[in-house]
Subunit: 222 residues, 2 copies
Amino acid sequence: VSDIKKQLALYLVTDRGLTRGRELAACVLEAVWGGAGMVQLREKDAPAREFAALAARLLELLRPHAIPLIINDRIDIALAVRADGAHIGQSDIPAEEARRLLRRVRPFGKRPILGVSVKNAAEARQAEKDGADYLGAGVIYPTETKTDYQETIGAEGAREIAAAVHIPVVAIGGINKTNIAELAAIPRLAGAALVSAILSADDIRASAQELKSIWDEASCRR
Amino acid sequence: VSDIKKQLALYLVTDRGLTRGRELAACVLEAVWGGAGMVQLREKDAPAREFAALAARLLELLRPHAIPLIINDRIDIALAVRADGAHIGQSDIPAEEARRLLRRVRPFGKRPILGVSVKNAAEARQAEKDGADYLGAGVIYPTETKTDYQETIGAEGAREIAAAVHIPVVAIGGINKTNIAELAAIPRLAGAALVSAILSADDIRASAQELKSIWDEASCRR
């Protein structure tokens, strides 16, 4: 957990519906080769068995790269496949419960990672208190991708959340190569989580590389 | 687990959408007063947090009556609220995994109950081998209620499944007071699971009582 901050700089969140027909596992690997340091499997419409099978397949592919795989919402599936952690939103089970359940699994002897979606500083402080290891702050910009929250909080919202807690914060929602530099300039923001800007790109690896290099360049000038 | 067979005679499966605007918890209690011996919380469209809160509320109401509460699909929520067990379908996580995860909770010091939906004898034998405590056999008759399977297996299907395993089997799908006697006549069938025939009735308690008495009368003549 201690070293996830660096891996969060470019965080890929999946959505099979946005790969333009390409196989998700292949797309995820391309994104990792391009610089994504962490992957969240988030497939709201997949039946549990299919979701678990997909998680197991991705774990197999990501473990050799030491890229953590985080499971959205379903703590039971995270436990069943021995994923690296889980990510929950404000309408999923409470973070405290999730933390308690996740204590029961120990992949590679490491403490499982718990991520929590928040939209303001109060939720951020609560999630940190409840045992979150990192936060997803959003929705930053308007986006077509299905998310737990509809209201956008902008770069200013991400700044406030990052300032409110000690754990790493990633911005999420509508981020792409035209606006990622604005976020990278925010003090203490650990990274950006992206879905369509990576998965829907013509060249996924090149897109991830470009996003990562814009992030790295803008964040080192903070 | 050893005494669930009797409680399965009339098994209520929930669907908030079918209560005709009445509060689900109140409807569940009415059904229990009418003779339902076990309750499965199955709310496919509820966000996890709401689903967990509803489960906790029902547990509070059902514990004084010693009526087991079974959680559909979400093993994590069953664990979080310390429910009496979980029920999974063929598109949920595999029964073996569910059994393994459920071993981690011990409500009242009892072994958690695992139910599995099956549609034929082969699935039934596999689920029994994987550690199921009871089976839901269906869909028996055509039904409007959302289920995991669309194909109907009829009373004959229920008969074959009940004959194939040693654990209790309940029939599910389209069962009401006009057809429950046909099922009650099947040797070794433990009970019937119902949704709308109970929850949508004008008088839920009277409806449960009537269904239970038809079941009891027809099953004792086997």
